[in-house]
Amino acid sequence: MFLALTNPFGPDMLPLLLQVVLLASLVNVSCALVGSFLVLRRMSMMGDALSHAVLPGLVIAFLFSGSLGVVPMFLGAIAAGIATTFLTQALHQYGHVSTDASMGVVFTSFFAVGVVLLKRYASNVHLDVSCVYEGSLLWLAMDTETVAGLEIPRQVAVVLPVLLINLAVMTLLWKEFKLTTFDAALATSMGFSAPVIHYLLMALVAMTAVASFRSVGSILVVAMLIVPPASAQLLVHRLGPLLAVACAIGVFVAAAGATLAIWLNVEPPGMMAVVAGVVYGLTVLFSPTSGLLSRALFHRRTASRILREDLLAMLYRVHEHDADQRLSLHEAIDAVGGGAAARRAFRSLRRQGDLRQTVEGLALTDQGRATASQLVRTHRLWETYLVEELGLALDHVHEPAHRIEHFIDEEIREQLAKSLPQSAEDPHGRDIPE
């Protein structure tokens, strides 16, 4: 397999690239807007269902109006979308069928009805089913009209109004959407009808799907509805920023997908879905708050900090017990569990100047002793607290104190010291360092 490469930024390709990016960005942003709510409401697959189920609506609208005009198309899509939502809900409620199964039954049936109608009555229409699946972004982007000196794809006239409608509805009903998404029961008790908002959202999704799928195809509508919001969900935690990030990802996916597709000579919508998947994969790994790698890194950092602190506190105790005793490097490392992690902890302590290695063995520097004494102070204060305030037995307090000493900061430590009876010794009779 050999790919013929094309330079997407060459003079003959650049206008096409810009048109594809313009069209796809509009599609992706309107998908991301409604898709965010689908993802937050845990109804992502409703996007899949609706993007299939609108087919009979389209065909019927075509059969009645005899044209593929924008208005009948949207009306057909909205009607089919609402019917799908209603039937899914009815099957779930009256038939006691789980939501995903009822969704699956309804949308496959609708799609089948659409295909039968299409093949039976409208087989000569330019509404090819595989085009519904793949989209024809390149053709639509090439079909341009000059507006104010700029070549604008004609399809923008279909996609832009949908984006504006989505934006307008979200702006006007922002708090209703927000409330019904996160707390439907509260919304209902405050007098906002959650079902009305639900149907409105589904109508918007159906409309967006129809406007988009001639460009990017129905399955890729699903990608644009779900993937950017799902990625944004891993990056931010508030609704407004989530929508903004999802839209930004949508635009990025359009630009990167189109560039790669033209470069490699493949279908742009497919490439955009792949890019979206890659973006999602990267957020899963590298998201600063919830990425797998950043979480792993955080765990590792915490674990090595705990090891370092254990090492310091252990050396402090050895010195306290017998000022002349020096542990060798091996003894010290074995005492905190051994292994590569402990050796790393030792090296980093030595680098920081917390301990030094002499011929007799390991010794804390002044700086190291100061840090260690604070740790031991926390430990012994906590033991005192557990015995005095909670009445735990003496042999039960070491373990919890050993765990918590790494997580109590100076402020809490001094509060602890203040709230305990003034005593220079912990319950085991050892000095509490200042």
Partner: protein
């Protein structure tokens, strides 16, 4: 769209495939993973394309292996996303479905730009080519179906518990993750076999619809699996039948198969949907009609109970045992609409519980006994509520209203004994109707 000699072979193939997918799809539906089938069917596309690019021919076996590989990769991705990220399972399914499919489309355009690659069209993949079913394919489907059946029977107990109580299965120490994966693998295998024959949407429907339809007929897993397989087979065969013009013409459905030819795929989906609707409305226990009928009968009985009790309470103060009561008094007593009272009265009359005389009614002996029993239950419950639940006597009427229809005789007797032992009922009145703890409206 195909001749009669082919029709039977195709019907058999579709029926077998329907049975296999209905059977294994039941587990997917019970585990709330109905849409995983949809995901699998879409995620197979890149695998098919990759296999084609690697092997360079449309050899079915290698394409199926490719489809199975990416399908299972998709399943694993969904499980991993749901397990390790904050993304919910439905979004995970959507992400995998659409991304894999997008990759498939990209690969498809690569194939189509190759000189050798013009044969693999997306239409085949979307709708399948059921008419091109070979005898060899029948063998493949049959062997797959038997293998799936055998494996399910082998682990039936485990799968049963997993389907209905996964927490219990996990508590038993069973490897629920691997069991789930095994089920999903079987779903993937059936999907892969069916995909080139039936197409994406049909496979998604065939995994879900038969199981949903079968659920209306039974509560037992063994029966559920058998019925789902049967419905799948019927849908498969029926859909093919509808697509065959020679046969549809004879049963007056000739308009369905025009010269353009409606592919059998969508018709199989619709046949399945039709069977689902029949099941949903007319299944004996859980069907909507049966449930509406039961509800209606219950409502009628409750209305009759209220009527009998009203008649009893109106005549209670009269000296004779079965006094004549004016219909107008009855109407005021129970807040009924003027039209319902004569209707309910005539129903009770037909059952031999009442006697009519112009505008008046009175109990028959049987009617009076029944009414006395009701009133007794009602008042015993009221007394119990007043004493043991510390409810005000004015407020207990409602609660007793709801309970009097369904309180078993045994409970009534224990209630009576309890009240009597505490001295709240006269010792002689066992089985008699006690006094009402609150005044009865005129």
């Amino acid at each position: 769209m195909f001749g009669p000699s082919v029709v039977w072979k195709v019907m058999l193939g579709a029926a077998l495939l329907g049975a296999a997918s209905g059977f294994i799809g039941t587990f997917a539906v019970l585990r709330r993973r109905a849409l995983v089938g949809d995901m699998l069917a879409h995620a197979a596309l890149p695998g098919i394309c990759l296999a084609f690019l690697l092997v360079g021919s449309r050899e079915l076996f290698s394409l199926s292996l490719g489809a199975l590989a990416t399908g299972l990769l998709g399943v694993v991705c969904v499980a991993a996303i749901a397990r390790w990220t904050r993304t919910s399972q439905d979004a995970a399914i959507g992400i995998v479905l659409s991304t894999f499919f997008g990759a498939g489309i990209v690969l498809l355009t690569v194939i189509q730009s190759n000189p050798t690659g013009h044969q693999a069209g997306i239409d085949t993949y979307l709708f399948g080519e059921i008419a091109s079913l070979q005898s060899r394919d029948l063998g493949t489907i049959g062997i797959t179906a038997l293998t799936v059946l055998f494996l399910v029977l082998l682990g039936f107990k485990e799968l049963q518990v997993l389907s209905f109580d996964p927490e219990f299965a996990a508590a038993q120490g069973w490897p629920t993750f691997w069991l789930d994966l095994a089920v999903m693998t079987m779903v993937a295998v059936v999907t892969t076999i069916g995909l080139p024959i039936c197409g994406v949407i049909l496979m998604a429907a065939m995994l879900i619809t038969p199981a949903v339809a079968a659920r209306f007929w039974t509560n037992r897993l063994e029966h559920l699996l058998a019925i789902a397989a049967l419905i799948g087979a019927l849908a498969g065969a029926g859909g093919c039948l509808l697509a065959a013009p020679q046969l549809t013409a004879t049963i007056g459905l000739g308009w369905l198969s025009s010269s353009h030819g409606v592919p059998p795929g969508p018709l199989i989906v619709l046949a399945g949907t039709a069977l689902l609707m029949v099941s949903m409305f007319f299944a004996p226990e859980r069907g909507l009609v049966a449930r509406a009928w039961r509800e209606r009968k219950l409502r009628a009985r409750i209305a009759q109970d209220h009527l009998l009790r009203a008649l009893y309470e109106l005549g209670e103060k009269e000296p004779e045992a079965r006094p004549w009561i004016d219909q107008h008094r009855l109407m005021h007593h129970g807040h009924w609409t003027p039209s319902t009272v004569p209707f309910r009265l005539s129903q009770a009359d037909r059952k031999g519980l009442l006697e009519h005389q112009s505008n008046r009614v009175r109990f028959t002996d049987r009617g009076r006994a029944l009414a006395a029993k009701l009133v007794r239950t009602h008042r015993l419950w009221e007394l119990y509520m007043v004493e043991d639940w510390r409810r005000s006597p004015e407020l207990v009427d409602r609660s007793a209203d709801a309970v009097e229809h369904s309180l078993p005789e045994e409970v009534v007797e224990r209630l009576e004994a309890l009240l009597q032992s505490e001295g709240r009922l006269p010792a002689t009145s066992l089985g008699e109707v006690p006094e009402s703890p609150h005044p009865i409206e005129p």
